[in-house]
């Protein structure tokens, strides 16, 4: 069952002498209990889209339904109540700097008029969940980025929301901390049954925890589906670029010696976990050097690209290419 339904959504920003279509023809249905990813380059309209889910931004056209309620038809009070069922976390954490960790988590309960004793109990439980019980009395300025985001997560969960919106929640964090936060989000999804919507420009985030993904490019959804499907065979240009690496059209950082023949092998997911390079070396009985590799396994399928330098002998080169052809590997000379 869809918990959030976005129908024919459009957003136009009108500035003094300009009209900017930030989003158009957006139709997304987010299922209860899933982790849904929205990916796109900077400026694609991701933040605008996620902010329209809880009406921090009003759509120019189209509707957003939360549990079959059309959010656009709600009055101010009803909208505030819906917002309590949709938690949100941000890239910059947005904690109250003058309040300690516990008070930050208490904040949404306080504004809901919840009873103090039960609120404190709830806040402490949440701090336990995000593993920050020992930081109750600390102020945000005394915490690391990862800790701040965990406080933000605890705070967002205080009102028992059914959905958690995450706008670039890991973009300000290092890879290790990013993984910790992603694991926490995964746990919240599995254990508390909270539907999670993740906005990111990082493919690895989608790959890591999302069930389904929508790729946003220049104000439109250009591709949408199960993560493993989309990753196996991205159809859109932007999808290919994002999945096979942002390096696709740029100079990859590898040292190509003059007059050497180099091949770029693209793994589009049609290959399973076969040791292609090793097999090729064994078959042709000649070695190659790997200059660049950016590949990953998704669902047991290999995705990404590898750049290899071939031996000078034209005959061996031909054999190698024949081998790659026989394996249906996409390659081209670079």
């Amino acid at each position: 069952m869809a918990i959030i339904e976005i129908k024919n959504l459009k957003k136009v920003f009108t500035t003094k002498n300009d009209k900017l279509v930030a989003l158009q023809d957006i139709n997304i249905s987010i299922e209860k209990g899933e982790i849904f990813g929205i990916i796109g380059l900077s400026g694609a309209g991701k933040s605008t889209l996620v902010r329209m889910i809880n009406f921090l931004e009003r759509p120019t056209e189209g509707d957003v339904y939360f549990e079959n309620k059309n959010i656009g038809t709600l009055n101010a009070k009803e909208l505030r109540n819906i917002r309590k069922e949709i938690g949100m976390i941000f890239q910059n954490f947005n904690l109250l700097e003058q309040k300690n960790v516990l008070k930050n988590v208490l904040f949404p309960l306080e504004i809901s008029g919840a009873e103090k004793e039960t609120s404190i109990k709830k806040a402490k439980e949440l701090l336990e969940l995000v593993d920050l019980s020992d930081k109750e009395k600390s102020y945000p300025s005394q915490l690391s980025g990862g800790q701040k985001q965990r406080v933000a997560i605890a705070r967002a969960l205080a009102t028992n929301p059914k959905v958690l919106l995450c706008d670039e929640a890991t973009s300000a964090l290092d890879p290790k901390t990013t993984n910790q936060i992603l694991n926490l989000l995964k746990r919240i999804n599995r254990e508390l049954g909270v539907t999670v919507v993740i906005i990111t420009h990082q493919m690895s985030v989608i790959e890591n925890i999302c069930d389904r993904v929508a790729i946003l490019d220049q104000s439109r959804v250009v591709e949408m589906g199960a993560v493993n499907e989309v990753f196996k065979a991205p159809k859109s240009d932007i999808g290919k670029k994002l999945i096979f690496g942002a390096t696709e059209n740029k100079d990859v950082d590898f040292e190509k010696s003059n007059n050497k023949t180099c091949l770029r092998l693209a793994f589009d997911g049609s290959m399973t976990n076969e040791p292609i390079i090793a097999d090729m070396v064994l078959t042709t009985k000649h070695s190659v050097s790997i200059l660049y590799a950016n590949s990953r396994m998704i669902d047991g399928k290999m995705l990404g690209q590898i750049i290899i330098e071939l031996p000078d002998d034209k005959e061996i080169q031909l054999k190698m290419k024949q081998f790659l052809d026989s394996k249906n590997i996409i390659y081209w000379e670079v």
Partner: protein
Amino acid sequence: MFLAIDLSLYITAIKETLFMTFVSSFISYVIGIPLGVLLYSTAKDGLTPNSAVYNFLSLLVNIFRSIPFLILLILILPITRVLVGTTIGAKAVIPPLVFSASPYIARMVESSLKEVDLGVIEAAKSMGATNFQIITKVLLSESKPSLLIGAAITITTILGYSAMAGAVGGGGLGDVAIRYGYYRYNQDIMLITVVLLVIIVQLIQELFMGIARKSDKRL
């Protein structure tokens, strides 16, 4: 020396000065804070943008801020008489001080509130906070250190103005300085009152800055 001519003269003057300063500051803040919040809220990026209200308030504030204090003091004498029943003495200085300080405070408050990160306000909105809750529980509380620094500046300025009111028989240290020091050429009394004013300004300044520093949890 004439230091001891009349110790009670100074004590009374200090009391009057502090009375004028703090009573005026208090009333000015009671008016200035809501006015500042209103300016902030109706501004372009505010909680409830309303350019008509904003422009009107903004103009009003600017008009009062640009009238020189001494002129204002005389200009509103009729109002002062109605409000406090007299136009001389420490009490009579309070209305003009409030008239000139409130718009000043409103601007100070507006600028302090503007320092609060919009992301934090957005987070509060996403939690279902009302605008009133955002004002009281986010804006005013997050900008507390900045508001206190503003208060240090405002209160010491009001103290300076209160001394000016001595020119019209307003009482306080300024009054002593003018009556004894200026009209009677008593350099010692003049000097002592000035030193006392400097000390009081310094103390108020340090006190509020100290509280501001202590209350700021960002460090």
